[in-house]
Symmetry: C2
Subunit: 217 residues, 2 copies
Amino acid sequence: MARIAGSSGPRTEEAIRRAGLRLIATHGYAAMSLRQLAAEVGIQQGSLYNYFRNKQEFLFDLIRGHMLDLHAALDAALLAEGSADARLTRFTEFHVAYHVERPQEVFICYSELRSLEPDNLAAVVAMRRDYERKLGDILDHGRATGEFRLADTRMATLAILAMLSGICTWYKPGGRLSTDGLQEIFTGMVLALARGGATETVAVRPRRREALRAGIG
Amino acid sequence: MARIAGSSGPRTEEAIRRAGLRLIATHGYAAMSLRQLAAEVGIQQGSLYNYFRNKQEFLFDLIRGHMLDLHAALDAALLAEGSADARLTRFTEFHVAYHVERPQEVFICYSELRSLEPDNLAAVVAMRRDYERKLGDILDHGRATGEFRLADTRMATLAILAMLSGICTWYKPGGRLSTDGLQEIFTGMVLALARGGATETVAVRPRRREALRAGIG
């Protein structure tokens, strides 16, 4: 959120952001009122307008802010060179670690796209496309070097992102897996997916296998 | 929905279900009023109570009904025997085809779990677990036969379901891919993921590679 006027400062701004995330994640954007938001933060409703002009701008700021932070963090984390394997590993580790700490943002960026006005939606979709393109470039690179065998890198991009962001729907910090453990297991699966097997069909059908076992193959 | 009384019949019931799906998917459960739902269907609000007792029961019926239909359809589609590869292929083809036709149900079953009262949530979570277990059993079977190499079949189950259900967030019927095309590409990726590579790590890390290039490795 870009603060427009007033004097409560960045701490209030952050409190509004957190309360808004919580309220929208719990009840949905349409059901959240600005009166409720102000009460949650403990300020007058009128004071909210020091931070945004209306509820739509607030939602857009929340989502755009998340996307801007995400892009900046990804750009800092990505490998500029190296094998496609190494670059994909780095991407996966980054995406997992970044998103497991922000389940509410992930939920809202998915579930409340419906509530964005057309121009705002277009801006967010463009930022998402840009994020997807950064993964897509790694997959295309790997296909060019022969490291990856993928029938369709665009589908693979969407599949990998859904698989990784899906962690937020079930992961509870403090459970049986640490973030490190998650990163390791998911990197293994993402690499396996990218290295492919897409063109292989089932080599030995069960009947054939049984026949082999029985010595009649 | 189990119809409680009245005489409008299954067509009204189906109209209520469809209108509810559309309203909840568009505005969220908390923002939908039963007045709005009745108006959408073109009946009196009081007539809704021939079909459910309250808004919570309506949401639960929507989600439970979807899960019951899903289980029945899966059980009819699954292979009772065969290689893990063949069984996983069948599961994947089923899951893709079933879900791309029901994007609103998929969205609500994910985004409105938050709105279910504890007992209802517990019932839905149990049905989801049961669905996950059916995929998990195939992965465990494949690991036992040596067809699949997976570090963690529970994580793989959740990864595969997120990857496949994620299709609903971007797939538009009539686009460049048919359902057949989707099934083929996603089956390829799911099989590649399951067949593994999970234990392989990237052999040469970038820094080491740079050192090698500089002749100081």
